[in-house]
Symmetry: C2
Subunit: 590 residues, 2 copies
């Protein structure tokens, strides 16, 4: 008789694992730290935890496993770890494909990893093994086959059930408790989702395979609401000018989203009908306009958001015209000026799980600052204006071909451009470089005054910064600097105590950290404590699309993050004036 230990040997390594007689193999392997794929939560539905039994006596497979084995044509000796009770010593090999692998989520300059555990899943069901005569109805029989006690159902799905229940069909299940749809045949190899970065200027849609986590296609465009106003404020104003304006803005973005989703799905040759889940990360205003929710409260004091956490919505009800039923998850807003894009960024950068004190800064028209201190999370926002995006700068432009994005100094400015095209203007990172170098070389005084009678700084052929341009950057930088300083002081964190600063937003990963520190935009820290998280909004949308547990963590984060109102604090104006000076912020002295 085998002793109740060393029951499972894993080949080829030969590692042995102790187990109690009668334990399920999947539980044994999971306990031993093996990242076994348990997509269907050990319900014997997906066949993804297949192992090869090399040695040992085995109980016979049950009906469920036999059916699955014949449908998926397993070779002899392969068994489902989640259905196998270990009664005596066995030796197994675990195929690579039965192991979960973290999927890297790459955006410009940031990398985050996630184990796919999507909200939308597919399970193939053999309708011929259906025992509706033992269940109250076909729907109950399906719920039993899916191993879910309380399955709810979208209107219209039920009607498809009788026609499909005679053969193999695929159930699309959301959060393991809602039947979203059923499809004829076994379509489990294709279940798509879309991650959306819903920016005020640009909309980016990434279509992902929800099972493997791979990106399959991308489409982007200028936000079609731009026709009604370039920035948030003008769009909000337009929205409450007339009752139908809000709906016009809504229709513009929902149509565009549906188009971009179709386009990105098509790139991999996949039908958008396989798309079942959409995660949108946008700022609070964009999220409100997307759902057609009145925005008056966002535009007037005390600037209140109407919603924050909403849970998954019905995509069709939200106005997205897609070929199949899908869910729409709007990443929760933290506050009126700290939106779902920041929540997504925090999720992507894993801020809440980092040890120590961290600062997350998203630089854009609105500068959002999140301070993490121990278990505390505090968010604030500060109005920077569009200078960082090159928008109110005479020679400013977006970081497209011909934009000067990096500037060095060799007895004068040396310009690099996007695509190595002839320089046409400065984008945000180029502007910062020029300013830092100009201050360093005395072309601009620390108080922002441009040297020389013309009060204009020539950067290259046809490109110059005017005094007004410098003032605009100065104001934008001061807003962020003052915000950071206020928060650090309020919550008693010295800049030097920061374990790191994460920079997200407009600059992407190409900003020169040293220059940003010289201008005081971020506190002076060893360079290795500053990291770029690039388009963390899109990265976060992808992470939340691929992982339902990450979604739960993000909701929890939004529930406990505190908001620190900079504008309401009288000291902010003082801090702002002091921050106007271009100089490094070493902390403490101010």
């Amino acid at each position: 008789m085998t002793r109740e230990r060393d029951l499972v040997t894993i080949l080829p390594e030969g590692r042995t694992i102790q187990a109690a007689r009668g334990e399920i193999l999947a539980d044994i392997l999971t306990r031993a730290g093996m990242p076994l794929s348990l997509y269907c939560h050990k319900r014997g539905l997906c066949g993804k935890c297949l192992v090869q039994v090399v040695r040992g006596d085995l109980p016979l497979p049950d009906d469920l496993e036999r059916t699955l084995a014949s449908r998926l044509s397993w070779p002899t000796g392969y068994r489902l770890a989640c259905r196998l009770t270990v009664e005596s010593a066995i030796a197994i090999e675990v195929p690579e494909r039965s192991l979960l692998r973290e999927v890297p989520i790459l955006e410009t300059g940031t990398s985050t990893e996630v184990i796919p555990e999507p909200a939308a899943k597919k399970y193939a069901v053999d309708g011929r093994t259906f025992a509706a005569d033992r269940a109250a109805s076909l729907f109950d029989a399906l719920a039993a086959a899916l191993g879910t006690g309380a399955l709810s159902c979208k209107d219209g799905v039920l009607g498809k059930l009788p026609g499909l229940a005679g053969g193999t069909f695929t159930a699309v299940v959301y959060e393991d408790r809602e039947l979203l749809d059923i499809e004829p045949g076994d379509t489990t190899d294709l279940c798509l989702g879309a991650a959306v970065d819903l920016g005020t200027s640009t909309v980016v849609v990434d279509v992902l395979d929800l099972v493997s986590g791979r990106s399959l296609g991308r489409a982007s465009a200028v936000n079609s609401q731009a026709a009604y106003g370039a920035d948030v404020v003008s769009r909000l104003t337009y929205a409450f000018e007339r009752p139908d304006h809000l709906q016009r803005l809504r229709r513009a973005i929902t149509r565009q989203l549906a188009e971009l989703i179709r386009e990105a799905s098509g790139q991999a040759g996949d039908s958008p009908a396989a798309l079942r889940d959409i995660v949108v990360a946008g700022n609070t205003a964009m999220n409100h306009l997307l759902l057609g929710v009145a925005v008056e409260s966002l535009a007037v004091l005390p600037f209140e958001a109407v919603f924050s956490r909403l849970g998954p919505l019905d995509a069709a009800a939200a106005g997205l015209d897609l070929p199949a039923a899908a869910r729409l998850y709007v990443v929760p807003n933290i506050r009126s000026f700290v939106g779902g894009d920041i929540t997504a960024g925090l999720a992507a950068s894993g801020l809440a799980k980092r040890k120590g004190s961290w600062l997350f800064i998203d630089l854009g028209t609105n500068g959002e600052i999140v301070l993490k201190k121990g278990r505390e999370l505090i968010a604030a926002s500060t109005a920077a204006g569009p200078a960082f995006e090159g928008m109110n700068i005479s020679c400013g432009m977006l970081a497209v071909r011909g934009a000067v994005d990096r500037v060095a100094w060799r007895d004068g400015f040396v310009l690099s451009t996007v695509g190595n095209d002839p320089p046409r203007g400065l984008c945000g990172t180029g502007i910062l470089d020029v300013l830092a170098l100009a201050v360093g070389h005395g072309l601009i005084a620390p108080d922002g005054k441009v040297a020389g009678p013309a009060r204009s700084l020539s950067v290259g052929p046809g490109i110059a910064l005017t005094q007004a341009d410098v003032r605009n950057v100065q104001l934008a930088a001061a807003a962020v600097k003052a915000g950071v300083r206020m928060m650090l002081r309020e919550f008693r964190v010295r800049p030097n105590d920061l374990d790191g600063v994460l920079l997200a937003g407009a600059f992407g990963n190409s900003v020169n950290i040293d220059h940003a520190m010289q201008l005081g935009l971020i506190p002076v820290l060893p360079l290795d404590r500053v990291a770029f998280v690039g388009n963390s909004s899109l990265a976060g949308a992808k992470k939340l699309l691929l992982s339902a547990p990450a979604r739960a963590e993000a909701e929890d984060l939004v529930g406990r993050i505190r908001h620190f109102s900079l504008a309401a604090d009288a000291r902010f104006q003082d801090e702002f004036i002091a921050a106007l000076e271009f100089k490094p912020d070493a902390g403490g002295e101010s």
Copy 2:
């Protein structure tokens, strides 16, 4: 110092209740068995647990209670039991209106009581006390004000929030977790629901006040689907003749329901806009047609229902055109031939909670039989045909004016009619009376043969039962008798061991029990063990409308009730033949 006992004295009785110092008064009173109204679950929102404090020192009311007190203009000395911490001895009076009273639900011949605890509730909120600056958004502030952690929201409600949040408004909340709607002002005094008996022949709608449980209006009509087929089979056939037929049937009934709901609401002078919840009890086929779900599987072997338990639906999405957002709860079907009407009947009659062994029989075109034995519940159905409704009887008619509904014997038949009108024909109860009396007086043989050469039994002027009529009743009765006998035998219950028989359905409460026993339709039992539960379907719909806990119990019942397939059992035909004879069923001999 007061000892930690006898802290609360209830006047005028003078009864004292022990309590620990620091306990909440509502908890003390509830523990002492006082049925205190806790509509808002002790969240201080509804003001329904008001008590008068006659003696004793009290802590000051908190902000929430003060706001409520000023809005509802309480006299001095009144306090909310759910917000009052008892620190020293007090004497109180509990006003009658602060106590829950069971609401009797009366239908023909049946009475059941229920404590209102509806799924749809209204809470008034003072928007001016809103602290959205402390919550993430207006919606979060509302969720906090309602004391619900995870509040979800119907599309379209959010848009109303900014406009109303400045003053007093009313939140319509479903199952204490979904914000169904918001309304300006305090409308908590009017929250309506509709209970619907969705019969194949007749549709009855009762509109109730969900707070008090009072019936406010009733409307009924012939099921508008009757234009496409008088009975279930012809309607199912029509439904799958052409794809658009199913939707035509759906539209017919959804339009009619919306109309009847408006009509019944209007009777009490109330706006149907106050209607927020609808409970429909129908047979499985009617429920499928109501939701536009394909009915093929109901019409062909093995006769499978597509759905059973669905949870609450969105009334508008289900096609009901009503002036305000409402929920639609379709009482769950047990099986293809045992529908939500039976589930409702079981809920109304409290079958599952009765002690011992009980039989529930619903007599109609389909005879549904439910046997309760100990904790076991078994359901079966048997095809009786429409004879009990007087439908395939030459002189048969529904129980309307002029129908003979009771027959006695004084040297011949003595007829009573509905409305005392001249007799025009026989309804179900009249037919049973005539048959029992005819068999008893030798005018019809126990084998059903009508005496005399004409093979016709004259009942009154122009009213006679033909041999074919008698055969039709004989077949209908045999189907039910055989079903009851099979079930009793299968589950080892002797008729005499039955603690009672509950009769529901076509006969209402006017059938002569003695006659039914003489014909063998129900087992011979002491008369006091047989009860009529009349239109238990409507009574059940009302109960489930008024009580969310009763709904949970009904769902649980449907989940555990077993189905016994009579048709699939070879012995049924033997039992059926034997049951054709008109004779009392004393049990055991067969």
